[in-house]
């Protein structure tokens, strides 16, 4: 029994190998194959054969392009180009359909390319970027989920500085912001405390001053160009003194160019870290170098050689273990993150600015690939369907002498030409959708999506690839057509696995479109649910105003005078929007501590927001200077420490870390403190000994605008420097869920795209199918079939495809949302049948309209005229 080596490998060999050496070479390979098949089995033999075919792919074996065959190839290509153009213009409708489909999908492709190119540029300006690493920290407390953070403890910086492998260490602290004064100007600025080597490690262009010494001494500051302009106009800033942070005088030692858009570090100034360190020490605070002090500081290291990273990793491992023995339930684990992995990168807490979540990028990429595939399948479908029409052309070409390969090339070329035209359209579309995409600012992508000329290279490559993908299958089909049969009797040609493949492609398109629709529906419902969720207290018409350093009591008093302001209270933070402040508490057992969240509030806060008291009483007004030892807790706190029911809990004591013992004087019902993806934690309300940062106003007025105006005027009387910053609580809550609005917008947009593409495909198929069955329809009509039964029969295949798609789409989205996405939320909607069916319903409706309109036209036509012209 003579077995053969794998045919396809053989064909590859024949394709690339020179004719002169092919014979004996291939003969040898076949002989070896036979021997191996006998001795080692068929599998081994085939494997060896394939490997050998690959190994033979060398310079001396490859066919050389002879000059005159290049001429030939070019002439051929040119004729293909002409034929392609002719074909495109001849079938205008199909061409238009294909073109639009491809163009629409390719515009998303272009969007992705530009987006990726821009994001890739992040932090690229640093010369030493390959050797720069950020130290990140993972915080884990008890049974809570581990929380990775971008910030770490300064102790890490200290320890790493001693390592051989580490060249330089940069230590920074965030939240260096405040007002700076120079002569008569006062300007609010934001920046970092940064250690000496900052300007050495990072490549921010220094305009004035010496980067080596700029941050070395205490009370020195580096300004950006814009800041220097604001304070000193056109004068040189060097040597001038500013009054600012912590009431200090700072000398300007350098001026740098503004950090570019693509830098994850953004600042108006850099103050020398040593200033901060000395100030802390002067206050007697030695906690700076605590291992647990990880929330406000960033550490970056410059390695001598990037290959040394593993050494540093090991060192950090060891340090983690040593340091964490001090803490019982908590651990802080430091590790390295490459500078280039920051943006786009994993979702860490405490990032220096808004992040670009790498998961989001992957999802966007996957979605655009799907959309492009969808359009390609359109093209494939329509082209295969139209093969019959081209069969005669193929037959003639083959008779004249075209090889199968040449016919294949011709049709692939046609698809590529198509694709290139589509690309031009797509570029236009891209500029149209660009502002729309940028306006999805909620996820705050710091990109411009500028289209640089060199982008045309990857975009064209993308277009060619798309064309190839779309055209390959139909070309295979068309090139298989046998010449004689094609010329003799067109109807006798059997299309290759015709129906099944086309139906599969169609189902794919519909499934995508439906899945997108369902995803949009569910995401939107969850979003509205989140925004309207009953938090357990009132947020309606509550306006939160930032005090910005002014006396909160004075502000509260002035605001309360305005008619329309129903109530005033003060607090230090705004809950239920994602922020949280936490600490540790113990009850009686010194070994049992729990983390809790808190808000410092005045005596009016709880009543203004209508918190439900279950026991005890509210805070009383604290006279200046006195300290209160009272706290009001929520039910979760009672559960945590087994304090009994609310009435029993009154009077019990809790010890708060670093603050001492407090007595519970009130209990409120549980409320939703964090965003709805989290459950509840024990919560404490306390009165503040310092000033409050936020004034809460309960407003009631018919003319909100006038009221806002009055508030603004009142503010201006008290504070002329800072702008009036106020936000309605409800607006803030919506903002907290802004990430979801962006997801909804994107998925919604993609749904529109996929719907259009599928419908275009459906339209094309319908037109084609009815055209090819015109004769049959007319005959049936004459024989007495009713119009409706005809329509039904014609649309039967499509209806089947739609239903199958509906089921698949429902299954996929259900799995994704139920198991993956919504399970992350502590509070979420239930996915209903209507949600899952929405895709099916909408597509069916649209399909009905498009198909229906055309079908009706065809079915109503006079059979006599059709048969006469056949």
């Amino acid at each position: 029994m003579m077995t053969n080596p794998p045919r396809w490998a053989d064909r590859i060999l024949e394709w690339y190998c020179r004719d002169e050496i092919l014979e004996d070479l291939q003969g040898d390979l076949h002989e070896i194959f036979r021997k191996n098949a006998r001795e080692k089995g068929l599998f081994r033999a085939r494997l060896t054969y394939i490997v050998d075919v690959i190994k033979f792919f060398r310079f001396y074996t490859i066919k050389q392009f002879k000059p005159d065959s290049i001429m030939q190839a070019l002439i051929l290509l040119f004729s293909y180009w002409k034929t392609s153009l002719r074909n495109i213009t001849r079938t205008k409708l199909f061409s238009l359909i294909n073109l639009s489909g491809l163009a629409i999908s390719m515009s998303t492709g272009i969007l992705m390319i530009v987006l990726l190119a821009e994001i890739h540029q992040f932090d690229m300006m640093h010369e030493k970027r390959d050797r720069i690493f950020r130290v990140i920290n993972t915080f884990k407390n008890g049974n809570d989920a581990a929380e990775p953070c971008a910030s770490t403890s300064p102790l890490v910086a200290q320890k790493l500085a001693g390592l051989d492998a580490v060249d330089k260490v940069v230590l920074m602290r965030r939240n260096a912001s405040g007002d700076f004064q120079f002569e008569d100007k006062t300007i609010p600025l934001g920046g970092f405390w940064a250690s000496t080597d900052f300007l050495d490690v990072f490549s921010f262009e220094v305009l004035e001053g010496d980067p080596q010494t700029a941050l070395r001494d205490p009370n020195t500051i580096v300004l950006t160009e814009t800041t220097s302009q604001k304070l000193f106009g056109n004068e040189s800033a060097l040597g001038k003194s500013l009054h600012g942070l912590n009431d200090n005088l700072y000398t300007v030692t350098a001026v740098v160019k503004d950090p570019p858009l693509y830098s994850h570090l953004q600042f108006d100034f850099l103050a020398s870290f040593i200033t901060f360190e000395e100030a802390r020490r002067a206050q007697g605070d030695e906690s700076l170098y605590d291992w647990s002090n990880m929330w406000m500081y960033y550490t970056y290291i410059l390695l001598n050689d990037a290959a040394q990273k593993t050494r540093v990793d090991q060192f950090l491992e060891k340090t983690n273990q040593e340091q964490n023995t001090r803490y019982e339930n908590t651990s802080y684990s430091a590790s390295l993150q490459a500078l280039t992995d920051i943006v786009p990168g994993p979702n860490l807490s405490n990032q220096t600015r808004t992040r670009v979540n790498i998961n989001m990028i992957w999802i966007l990429l996957a979605l655009s690939v799907i959309v492009v595939l969808s359009a390609c399948f359109n093209y494939t479908n329509l082209s295969i369907a139209r093969s019959l029409g081209r069969a005669r052309e193929v037959g003639i070409r083959k008779v004249i002498g075209a090889s199968r390969g040449q016919v294949l090339t011709q049709f692939v070329m046609e698809a590529i030409v198509f694709s290139l035209f589509a690309m031009i359209l797509a570029l236009g579309l891209f500029f149209l959708i660009r502002p729309y995409f940028l306006s999805i600012g909620e996820f705050d992508l710091p990109v411009n999506l500028d289209f640089k000329i060199w982008y045309l290279v990857p975009v064209t490559a993308f277009a060619v690839m798309t064309g190839f993908m779309a055209g390959f299958l139909p070309s295979l089909v068309l090139s298989k057509i046998k010449a004689i049969i094609a010329l003799k009797d067109v109807t006798r040609i059997r299309l290759f696995s015709g129906i099944n493949l086309r139906m599969v492609l169609m189902v794919f398109q519909f499934t995508i479109a439906m899945a997108m629709i369902i995803a949009t529906v569910i995401s939107y419902r969850q979003y509205r649910f989140a925004v309207n969720f009953d938090l357990g207290y009132d947020t309606e018409n509550v306006l939160n105003i930032k005090a910005q350093g002014n006396d909160s009591r004075k502000l509260a008093l002035e605001f309360s005078r305005i008619p329309g302001v129903q109530a005033v209270s003060r607090s230090i933070m705004i809950p239920s929007t994602g922020d949280s402040w936490g600490n540790y508490a113990k009850h009686v057992d010194p070994a049992d501590s729990t983390i809790y969240n808190y808000n410092l509030v005045d005596e009016n806060y709880l009543t203004l927001h209508n918190f439900t008291f279950l026991a005890g009483s509210n805070f009383k007004e604290l006279p200046d200077g006195s300290v209160s030892r009272e706290i009001i807790v929520n039910e979760e706190m009672l559960r945590r420490f087994d304090l009994g029911d609310p009435i029993e809990a009154i009077g019990k004591q809790l010890t708060l870390l670093d603050e001492g013992a407090y007595q519970i004087t009130g209990v409120v019902a549980d409320f939703q403190f964090k965003t709805i993806d989290s459950g509840n934690r024990p919560f404490v309300f306390k009165q503040s000994t310092e000033d409050y940062a936020i004034i809460n106003l309960k407003l009631r007025s018919r003319d909100m605008q006038q009221l806002m105006g009055q508030l603004q005027d009142t503010w201006k009387q008290i504070d002329q420097v800072h702008p009036f910053e106020a936000e309605f609580f409800d607006d803030r809550i919506e903002e907290a869920y802004a990430e979801y609005t962006s997801i909804i917008k994107i998925v919604g947009f993609l749904s529109l795209l996929s719907i259009s593409i599928s419908i275009l495909g459906l339209l094309g198929m319908t037109i084609y199918l009815t055209q090819s069955r015109l004769r049959e329809i007319s005959i049936r009509k004459i024989l007495g079939a009713s119009e409706s039964s005809l329509a039904l029969q014609l649309s039967r295949t499509f209806l089947g495809a739609i239903i199958v798609s509906g089921v698949i789409a429902a299954g996929i989205t259900y799995y994704f949302f139920e198991v993956r996405f919504l399970s992350n939320f502590a509070h979420r909607i239930n996915i209903g049948i209507l949600d899952l069916g929405s895709g099916l319903i909408i597509i069916s409706l649209i399909a009905l309209c498009t198909m229906g309109w055309h079908l009706i036209k065809v079915v109503r036509a006079n059979p006599a005229t059709i048969l006469r012209s056949e």
Partner: protein, 109 residues
């Protein structure tokens, strides 16, 4: 005149061609070398070596020998030329010469 220095592998192939005298072709050379060297030899390496040596004039090829196993394709037999034989002799002389210079080396018990 092209330089006639050849590598170690090419030398082995050349020797085998000479040894199989007029019956040497791709597969036979491969099998012989695999047996002698006790390691796998790749057929493409042999073909490259043969081609290079043919270009240098050390071997000459002729067609013949169709079998059904080869699917009706002819074999290309290689014969060593005068220049090739000279080269083989030269290499042998060099190696034997140095070999005979080695004093008795004892490697311990």
């Amino acid at each position: 005149m092209k330089s006639t220095s050849i590598g170690e592998f090419e030398e082995l192939v050349l020797l085998t061609v000479a040894a199989q005298h007029d019956q040497a072709y791709g597969v036979s050379i491969k099998e012989s070398l695999e047996e002698i060297l006790d390691r796998k030899v790749n057929i493409s390496a042999i073909h490259v070596a043969l081609k290079r040596m043919e270009d240098k004039g050390l071997v000459k090829g002729r067609f013949g020998g169709i079998t059904s196993e080869r699917g009706g394709r002819r074999k290309k037999f290689y014969v060593i030329t005068i220049a090739g034989k000279k080269e083989v002799d030269r290499q042998y002389a060099i190696r034997t010469g140095i070999y005979h210079q080695i004093p008795k080396i004892s490697f311990g018990t």
